[in-house]
Subunit: 261 residues, 6 copies
């Protein structure tokens, strides 16, 4: 029997056996192709939720679907903006319908438990809409027991001690973590070959007014595209983040789908 | 000459004269029909951004369009969830296309400056998508100078002193302000007849896990539908909020559209 | 207990109690932001169906939803055309989906009786499509008892005596009533402060060939935007119209939803 | 050279030559597959506008495109309702997009003059929307000189003398002409083999309240599906109608596209 | 009783009687308005599947719906490309939704057996999508017994002897049959007045690289628009094709819907 | 300088430098998550076009975008059908819009040369539609020089000698190659760890009637899901295929984008 947690690496018979009964949990990582500063590759938002999904899946005996590699348009205050070369984004409806179509198909297979693991902040509401449209349609098909958890893995870093270890000089908020200490540390722990710490541009944290302007005013984004400096990133921090996220998500997923009776 | 700031109260000739040259700023309030607890009416998210828009418009000689009265689906962690009777929401695409269509028409009129004043947290990304689709289409029409500011009025309460006045026992975050001190105080200042403080249910702040589940688990929302208690609300706080928001937004809008040369 | 007929002014608990059992009738006014000549404001098509809905609702103990403030594109022969500044219209699909989404939500609440009160001629078919799509979808959800009445309030002026009182010199058809005696009289009765009879432009009734041309030939519309002169409008006529419409609609709605057994 | 006025009967080289310069007028008949009573076939709404288009085209040297054979949903007050077997209708968006796509293609060919000849009342607004979307898109392509006439051929019967000849006992309005004297006479003049006057059901004219109800109340439509009796129909009346419509439309089209200078 | 196989030629009562019980098979021809070389008219792809449908319907006592006269965009390797004047194509979604809407309506009538007879290669996948969306929706409506056969009539020419008779010098594949011996022979057998063999341009078969380029490189299509020469076409070949297709399709349809028990 | 051909592995600055001037060719692999028999994993249609893209890109100094991992619905005659567990497909419009959105973004970056490398037969027409919609929209933006090549890599195996080596007992057509010798050999050459030749089910080639039936008749697909037996597959054949495809595609792409002057 194939032991991969990745659905794409299974034969359909292995998959069929694995999901039989509908209790298997599946993870769908949702990412983006997006600039992440001068020092990191552009598929960070796919690699990270996929890696977290994989580790949680291994721990709780779940499966991981192929990621959605393209996401919603980068916003200035959370991703620097959608004006950078390389950043390649979908319209909201395209992302929403991708989620809808995949859920409809999983339901046909017999799957009833899905975790949408988001790796790109801007995706959230379009994922939520895809879930809502899908569950509505499943109800028309008489399927009422399909359940979906949606999460952004960084939201599991809540422990003040952990935050203090990651940001000894003070935490400035997830908003400006794009390409900063958090993502860079995780990449150093998981894919160090795709990070070049020598190219990190050390700049003050981005600071934005309490509104957005369209068309974007590009100068408001720090020139390298990161919203805070990754200088403080380290492999050790990445391993800590990974440990906390994997443990937290594994236990959340168990709590939802296998609550103690 | 009609002195109303509300576009709907003008004749088309008055409007035409007012926007001539394209420098007039227009506000479009975007709200929702949504439960706001036992003590408040359901159109809070329309009334408040409209009132803020009106006051800013009076100050900077701008105009206010009729509000969008229906918004995106209420989410559990920010609005209690979309399962309440009364909460009446649009699919994301419907809201997005409403914004797109209105911008396209304003551009035809000759308007070039628009402020989308959001009053319902869940609307944000679908408004952003509407703006993006609209500006893309305007570019195809050869219109490159249409600018849009989008904001949620509560984001202008940033001053720690103000927050301390509003939340003497500590601020718990905008997330759980749904139907709480903030909105209730504003309503008391603006529409006291639509608030019944005697019906406020005093409950501990809602506390949610770092993920969402669909279908929603209704019990996770406090029974009255509010996410934090409105017991501490007062007309005075509402007036303070209004003052700070109006001043902040007026100056932000001026900064964007009439920067000092 | 809150006695307002406006859903937006109720708390969700009041609304929930009011619609319990599914026999409560709800009104949804559907209007437009559209030029109405030199002498009237642009939200006539929202104000009038809302006022009629309110009065009927008071009489038959029904409720009124927040109006849809934007409607379908003004057509030359019924509204002067969509080329005027100020007229701000939606694509047909946006209006249709707004109606669909609202009906879907009302059905979730438990509502089963809806009256779509149209105030803008051009909306009709897109409302009809929204109803058809909604009822189709509700059938998929197993809901077969949701009923919708759709009407344009002016269609209730059928009595030749009434028409003779309104148009002593002869009635020329609803088509060219845009901004004319009918709407202006109603506004004088309901919102006199938004009408300036001194600015009425007296012009012969618009006369159109039996076809339409696109792009529109603007000169075919009388310059003020009205299709017939409002000179003959009066508060008294408006009160008569209101009385006849309210009585007729109240009795029609009762006939549909509470037929004598 | 092929002398057919039907585009489908031409080779592309003949068509190319015919439309060169962009001054050729094209007709697009838009119909429906819809019940027309016990005595007539179901493609009346395609046959009639096609026949009228053909005759006008012959007179003014224009071309006729293949008709759209499916139309928008039959409404009770104008077509009996969409609940009859045989009536086979499109969603509004499908009809709108069909019109849009065809106009976009004609513009690519170099055509600049189009007449949409409607044969099914309920199509009108969805055709109008298709035209509006198409001309908007053509503007983005830099095409500003594409002009469209849209008409329903029956609107050209305006002469009171003609109406008196058709309806010696009084005219009751186009609304209830569905399957009545007007359409039946035209069919007798053009396609007598598709009419069986012996099966005409003589019934009083349909009478509807000033509102619509959904789901439809089928009993409100006369059982045969016609809205007025076709008993008074005759070939001679059909020929008169045809003569008046063809002459009127030919002159209207000339007026729009070749106005006397 | 009307003996026509064409649904459009029936009254609704005849149609209702004919489809009662749901065992009647209906054919929906799906064509295109597309250039077919210098020697043939542009509605070949409508005429041929309609004629085949008619003959099969006569043989097996089925009915034929009005054809879809517009199809998906002509592709260079199968239809010469969509750049020719006259070729008038729909977006894929428009074709898909036309198929979806018609199936939904047929199901409402009580029809349960449909054959989609394709006459234009490029339509295939958009028809398939329309069927899939329709059957999915019918399942939501609780209809699980609607069955659809989809076919392109030329796929029934499989017998090597027949192919040898048609192409004595060797068969080069259906791909390049656009406007060639196959379609031209069928037209000569069915509609000889719409073919002018003297205008046939004799050219070597089109030869394309194993990829497509967009925008199209028009020179890769033989100038007349045909992909192979029609010089070898004959009425006799057309009659042979028709005989084989009609027999094959009739027996296939019987096999699917009336299998021997 | 990062030497990866994968866009996702580059920083945005590297990407920006690489595409400067617009002459860089980008590859977008388009795959599917689809059953491939008992002996192979389900992401074959992603792995293979990605691997081919990578090798061609290395040879001609091009770049490879992240693949689209989900494709259009598997059809019985080319992929066994969409009823298998594991096969997870998109609606056509979702795939089309994914392609459209990505092209729009690439154009914004300055890219002008794209190769869509299809790995799943059923995707073809929805990719084509995405390209057509994208190039149409780019023209509205004034971009007329964006060129797209679309290909399915197996179409480059045309040399009879190669085919004879791959299929010494005779080639039965690409249609039934799903999971057969061709794909399995390629997988053995590229990802042998995802193939288990011991699980290959040896069965006669699938044989289908010249039509399709919906809902699918599952028994018509060989039980393992493959359409022909993979018993004859080998690493050597895979290497041959890869060599031929890579060489052929590289030279085709050069021919289109860098023709000898």
């Amino acid at each position: 029997m194939n032991k991969s947690v990745f659905v794409g690496e299974l034969t359909w018979k292995e998959y069929e056996a694995s999901i039989a009964g509908g209790e298997r949990v599946l993870f769908l990582p949702v990412g983006a192709l997006e600039q992440h500063g001068h020092h990191m590759c552009m598929d960070v938002d796919v690699l990270l939720p996929t890696a977290v999904s994989q580790r949680v899946a291994q721990r709780i005996d779940a499966l991981v679907l192929p990621a959605l590699h393209y996401g919603y348009k980068s916003q200035q205050k959370s991703g620097g903006g959608n004006h950078f070369p390389g950043t390649t984004s979908l319209d909201g409806a395209t992302l929403t319908h991708s989620v809808l179509d995949i859920i409809r198909e999983l339901a046909r297979h017999g799957v009833r438990r899905l975790v949408l693991m988001n790796g790109h902040y801007e995706n959230s509401m379009f994922i939520v809409e895809g879930i809502d449209l899908a569950l509505r349609e499943l109800r028309y098909a008489g399927i009422n027991d399909f359940r979906v958890v949606v999460l952004s893995y960084w939201d599991f870093i809540k422990d003040p001690d952990v935050i203090a270890q990651l940001y000894p000089d003070g935490f400035l908020g997830w908003d400006i973590e794009h390409g900063g200490v958090f993502e860079t540390s995780l990449m150093l722990a998981l894919y160090p070959e795709r990070v070049d710490m020598e190219r990190v541009v050390d700049h003050p944290p981005a600071s934005f007014p309490p509104y957005d302007v369209f068309p974007i005013i590009p100068e408001r984004t720090p020139a390298p595209g990161t919203l805070s400096s990754a200088v403080g990133a380290s492999r050790e921090k990445g391993e800590l983040i990974l440990r906390v996220c994997v443990a937290g998500i594994a236990s959340a997923v168990e709590e939802v789908f296998n609550p103690p009776s």
